[in-house]
């Protein structure tokens, strides 16, 4: 019993200390005002964080869209409501699946590689070396990756959603014979720019922020050994996936729920 309390206390302290260090990292790297060179670095990182995630985003979006088309059709057709397929698919993707699934994929693809990359730089003394060359590793390494993740995430989610809709169109309209006109017009009528699209973008901004923060912090804070790096990489994927799902519930409740 005493042991359990002691462990709980120790666990809480570790958690708070980690939170403090990550907050410190966040504030210090975001307070740096980007100059021209930083912009070049950010775009380079958008390539390695964002562009290199495109394949998995597009493929996954396409399949999820096809599944949505299939499931939506088989369920809606029983009520003779297959004309509602367009709105059904679009709303699911724009509000939920687009931001959430692309954030989960992003955590697995880009988050883990960010952690591993920064962690390896730490373990091989590259960060320490940079510091002694009077170059701030936060500015040079962490800040550009941060912004890159933040900027890439909403774009990836948008691409995911668009590809998903195409997948659903392919299955629903081309294969199963739903009327193409009603597919698109139903979608246009029911998707609201502010309520649905903007809220979806807000979600993916939040997810991009949180996933990148966790990934960058885990890399920067890693134990400088191979075991430490592999543990941090795992932690990045687990923690950021859980954070995305938890935050999604909160954001959904605030945006669409009756709670407010």
């Amino acid at each position: 019993m005493n042991d359990a309390i002691a462990r709980l206390g120790a666990g809480t302290l570790t958690f708070l200390a980690t939170l403090g260090r990550s907050g410190h990292l966040l504030i210090r790297s975001l307070l740096l005002i980007p100059g021209w060179r930083d912009l070049a670095r950010i775009s380079l990182q958008i390539f390695s964080v964002g562009v290199k995630s495109l394949v998995i985003i597009v493929v996954a979006g396409f399949f999820i869209g096809m599944v949505l088309g299939l499931q939506g059709y088989t369920n809606l057709v029983r009520f003779g409501a297959e004309a509602a397929l367009g709105p059904f698919v679009a709303l699911s993707l724009v509000r939920e699946l687009g931001p959430v699934v692309s954030a989960l994929l992003f955590a697995g693809r880009a988050g883990s590689s960010l952690t591993a990359e920064i962690g390896l730089m730490k373990a091989t003394e590259q960060l320490a070396g940079m510091e002694l060359m009077a170059v701030d590793p936060l500015r040079r390494i962490v800040t550009p990756r941060f912004w890159a993740g933040f900027i890439s995430m909403p774009l990836l989610a948008a691409i995911f959603t668009a590809v998903g809709i195409i997948g659903a169109y392919l299955v629903g309209v081309s294969w199963l014979g739903v009327d193409g006109g009603s597919f698109w017009s139903g979608m246009q009528d029911s998707v609201d720019f502010q309520k649905d699209i903007l809220n979806g973008v807000v979600k993916s901004l939040v997810f991009g922020f949180v996933v990148t923060w966790i990934a960058v912090f885990r890399g920067y804070d890693t134990l400088p050994t191979s075991e430490g790096i592999s543990r941090s990489t795992t932690q990045t994927v687990v923690h950021s996936s859980l954070a995305v799902l938890g935050l999604d519930f909160i954001l959904t409740a605030l945006m669409f729920g009756e709670l407010n």
Partner: protein, 278 residues
């Protein structure tokens, strides 16, 4: 700060460490050491593996903060400097890391160009000339397009050396520059250290185990053990030093007062499982 300060020649020392203590957890790495690194001279730091030679360089570079004592660099106390002042001071330092610490995602050329690009606004053509000059000095001009993963251990150390001197620092700290070099490149590195010191008047700190090599170029030698300075002097004085601990080290004898082992319980008891793991 200290009574004997006035008696020392103030203008002569580039780095002055006064009664510095440093701990890693419970373990004291430095237990009140004082040393002077004279300007424009080659100072060698020697001592058994694990005594804290690398740690000392990190303390001078301001990456670690001592628990007590002062580290004066050009009269400024490093542990008390703010972030921007510290970065300003670091521009005057070159450090060769024990591991080389080359950036793995850049070619040798870009590695050497890195401090120039980051800390100066020189045009790329000038940077190119400087980089080629530095690479020529370490014999790696032809390897400039290789990535660090394609270099051998000794080559990466020399590439890192070229990077450390890229900015023409006022002081350069070499952590084991001779390790992993064949006799030829060893000679090159030894002469390079010497000539950088002579031609540019660079203050040089050389951490090394190579008693022979370093005796030939060092102006002054410090030997550490157990968190203290156990001996110091010119190479001749050190060779003549009859203190058992110093002579054991200079002659490389395994048995003697300087412990070869990391602190450990009695070997025999250990084998008998006296503190068997739970």
């Amino acid at each position: 700060m200290q009574g004997n300060k006035a008696t020392r020649d103030e203008g002569d020392s580039h780095v002055r460490i006064e009664d510095m203590h440093f701990h890693r957890g419970e373990r004291a790495i430095f237990n009140g050491i004082s040393l002077d690194i004279p300007r424009g001279k080659i100072t060698a730091i020697m001592g058994p593996s694990g005594t804290g030679k690398t740690t000392l360089l990190r303390l001078i570079g301001g990456q670690l903060i001592p628990s007590a004592g002062a580290i004066h660099f050009d009269g400024e106390n490093i542990p008390e400097l703010g972030r921007s002042a510290l970065y300003r001071v670091r521009r005057k330092m070159g450090v060769l890391f024990q591991s080389g610490a080359l950036f793995t995602d850049m070619s040798v050329y870009d590695n050497v160009a890195f401090p120039l690009r980051e800390n100066t606004s020189l045009p790329e053509a000038v940077i190119r000339n400087i980089v080629l000059m530095k690479l020529e000095a370490v014999g790696l001009r032809g390897a400039r397009n290789l990535m660090p993963a394609e270099l051998s251990g000794g080559m990466s150390r020399r590439a890192a050396l070229a990077r450390a001197i890229a900015l023409d620092p006022e002081i350069i700290m070499y952590d084991e520059p001779f390790a992993g070099q064949d006799p030829i490149s060893m000679g090159v590195v030894v002469r390079l250290v010497k000539s950088l010191n002579e031609t540019l008047g660079l203050t040089s700190v050389v951490v090394t185990h190579d008693v022979q090599e370093v005796s030939s170029i060092a102006d002054y030698i410090y030997v550490f053990a157990g968190g203290k300075v156990i001996g110091q002097g010119t190479p001749e004085q050190m060779r003549a030093d009859q203190t058992p601990r110093v002579s054991q080290f200079m002659q490389g004898l395994p048995d003697g007062p300087v412990p070869f082992h990391y602190p450990a319980p009695d070997f025999e008891q250990d084998l008998m499982g006296a503190d068997s793991h739970e």
